[in-house]
């Protein structure tokens, strides 16, 4: 099976910078990535060159994942996605691995971000990473047998878990001789009001200071990726709603864009503008939830209500378009499910006037308040280099001073035509993250204002019936349309064989979909690059030297959404 539709005619411009590139296959993939196929013995050398050589400068590791091809000579493939913020190029490194010896050297010494991504690949695909400091299961329970994303793992298989949580980090039991006082281990979560979802933190305290911490995630793991392999391409859309459930529209749009890219189609202009409007509203909601909850955690309750009032109004808009409030399922491959309601423009304009008041109120209430500043300034600060090494994207990275936003770096949905500024701060602490999110809400309103002024007329879904259902009026009356309808429902969309990584700017950062198709009606493999996952793996390290209440303030400022973290 071949999974690539490369452009082999033109030589890749980056190939000359990679030593020994004659033996490595360096090509330009259809999704714009420079694709390098490297043997595992050369992997670390290649990755180091990619990071260190100034012409390549890949400072951000986006994703590590495994793909299983049981019919191939080398059964597994480990795929690394990298990007350079300065140069803008994107690189994919593919490493074939044999079934009888599924081992790859670890990249966690090169990018810290590789840590959890490699653990996930081990957990779900069963590929060992030699030299990894802590190669344990991450999303499934320690007692889980087998590796769920392998093709020979039965999706119907169920395990009954009888034992309780057993994980205790090694360092908990080790005596620490340097400390004068007796240390204490505390456990926060998994079900704790301040964890905003189910996650567990084990921390060692010296007095009131956290000296070491470790996180346990996976309590909300549903194996989205395995489920999508057993459903047709369009049936995956309701599942994407449940990734980041605070801004479900953005997930669906991101997925639809990835599949549209594989199909070589584009949504009609009107659908694109409506997608922009609803995505930006979703971003505002997501930030409202994050900031509202973060402020509650530091003791400022009123803001929660001020933010939830406009959020309810936005839900009403989404509901009048899609029929659902939280899980909208409005995006479709090729456009949108339905035309927007007749009063869509009025509703949007009403919200444009309604939301800023609440943002300003919160700004006035807390931004300059010394108590709030004292709780958040200098708390959980990270430098720009560190944040990039951990694979941070989105508002958290921008708070460290890096103006990286996919809406500008790699525009999609016509974002290149909108005027907006990227908010950046320089301190990288919880306070900076708060300020960046607050300003992003205002910038999103600016985008919506421009979008609604230029909302084009026309259809909202493509008339290509290989991808989109024909309109119902035709299905009821025309034979041809009825046949298309039957074929699409029963066989699903036939996505050409190949693979693509497409990313959109989610509310928390880069939300990437690595999609592999074998030409059938179901996805062969979908890997989600959740922004939270990379952000949260830095969290135990951020905690060191902070107080327990600071741990809560940091956690809420990072905006960890368990649905997206655990998938």
């Amino acid at each position: 099976m071949t999974v690539s539709n490369p452009d082999t005619a033109t030589p890749n411009p980056l190939a000359r910078f990679i030593p020994g590139s004659e033996d490595l296959k360096v090509i330009t993939a259809a999704d714009g990535f420079t694709e390098i196929t490297a043997d595992r013995s050369r992997l670390i050398g290649v990755l180091r060159v990619l990071r260190d050589r100034p012409e390549l400068d890949c400072n951000l590791l986006l994703d590590v994942c495994g793909v299983d091809y049981p019919m191939n000579e080398h059964r597994f493939e480990v795929v690394y996605h990298l990007t350079s913020l300065a140069k803008g190029h994107r690189i994919r490194v593919r490493v074939p691995v044999d079934e009888d010896d599924p081992r790859v050297p670890t990249a966690s010494g090169i990018w810290k971000a590789a840590d959890w991504f490699e653990r996930e690949t081990w957990d779900l695909m069963g590929i060992r990473f030699d030299g990894h400091p802590n190669l344990r299961r991450i999303l499934t329970h320690e007692a889980f047998q087998g590796h769920a994303l392998r093709k020979d793992y039965d999706p119907e298989k169920r395990w009954v878990l009888t034992e309780a949580e057993t994980f205790v980090p090694d360092w908990v039991t080790e005596p620490d001789e340097e400390e004068d006082f007796e240390t204490q281990i505390i456990n926060i979560g998994p079900s704790h009001p301040a964890t905003h979802g189910t996650l567990r933190i084990v921390a060692r305290l010296d007095g009131e200071i956290i000296t070491r911490a470790e996180c346990e995630i996976g309590y909300l793991h549903r194996c989205f990726e395995k489920m999508s392999e057993t459903h047709s391409w369009s049936e995956v859309i309701p599942y994407t709603d449940r990734l980041n459930y605070c801004s479900s529209m953005i997930n669906g749009v991101g997925y639809a864009l990835a599949v549209e890219h594989m199909l070589g189609i584009e949504a009609p202009p009107r659908a694109q503008v409506v997608r922009v409007i609803l995505s930006e509203f979703s971003r505002i909601m997501d930030h409202a939830v994050c900031l509202g909850a973060a402020l509650v955690d530091v003791g400022a309750l009123t803001n929660f209500w001020y933010f939830f009032q406009p959020r309810e109004e936005i839900y009403t808009l989404l509901e009048s378009c899609a029929g659902g409030r939280l899980t909208v399922s409005y995006a479709r491959i090729g456009g949108l499910a339905h035309e927007v309601p007749a009063d869509f423009e009025d509703q949007v304009r009403y919200l444009l006037g309604y939301i800023p008041k609440f943002v300003d109120d919160v700004d006035k209430l807390v931004s300059t308040n010394r108590i709030f500043r004292g709780r958040t300034e200098g708390i959980g600060a990270l430098s720009a280099e560190e944040a990039l090494a951990w694979g941070w994207t989105g508002p958290c990275l921008r708070a460290c001073g890096v103006p990286y936003d996919l809406r500008r770096a790699r525009p999609y949905l016509g974002y290149e035509n909108y005027d907006f500024d990227i908010p950046v701060a320089s301190t990288g602490d919880s306070y900076a993250r708060y300020l960046v999110r607050l300003e992003e809400m205002r910038q999103s309103l600016r985008i919506i204002e421009q979008a609604i002024d230029n909302l084009p007329d026309g259809p909202v879904i493509t008339d290509n019936h290989h991808a989109a259902l024909p309109p119902k009026s035709k299905v009821y009356t025309e034979m041809e349309a009825l046949i298309w309808h039957f074929k699409l429902i029963y066989e699903g969309i036939k996505v050409p064989a190949g693979s693509a990584y497409l990313a959109t700017e989610g509310a928390n950062g880069e939300l990437g979909y690595y999609v592999v198709s074998d030409g059938g009606g179901k996805p062969y493999r979908i890997k989600v690059r959740p922004p939270c996952f990379a952000i949260f793996q830095a969290y135990p390290h951020l905690l060191e030297g902070h107080l327990v209440p600071d741990a809560i303030a940091i956690l809420s400022s990072l905006n960890i959404i368990a649905g997206e973290l655990d998938r």
């Binding site: 309701p238 029929g323 659902g324 399922s329 300059t368």
Partner: protein, 176 residues
Amino acid sequence: MKPLTTVNVDRPQRGFGEWSYLGPIVKGLAVTLRHFLRNFFGQRDVATIQYPEEVRQYSERMRGRHILTTKDDGSLRCVACYMCETACPADCITIVADEDPEATVEWEKLPVSFEIDLLRCVFCGFCVDACPKQALVMSREHDFVFTTREEAIVGIDELKQKGPIEEEDLGYRPYY
């Protein structure tokens, strides 16, 4: 292509007022007092709804409990084509089909059983999109309770349309 423009949001502490807590406290009290006075005496744009006495008005696209629509003679419009069952992402629809004994043409299909597991259902509306006969639509009813899991598996009797549907009860259905 618009250029990348950034706006720095850093906010260094300014002045004696901010340092001494005074300015922000006065400003903060003014904001909360304004909200209080406006809600207490004025426009009463209080967002809280006194549910269940007061209910939110949902749109005509609200995805609620399913309805199996009927023809004028009261028989089901459903022809047991299995499209909704195939399109369902949650696999919550089970149809058993048989020949319609009263059909005027040969081999007319009819569902002898049509079950939806409402606890599995995610209310995405894909079944409504898939139906080629407008035999399955959704209502705005969203607040139903069950005491057992078996009770949540509803069949034709519970789902079948009973008399004409009021416009304000009708939810998600085909639009064009």
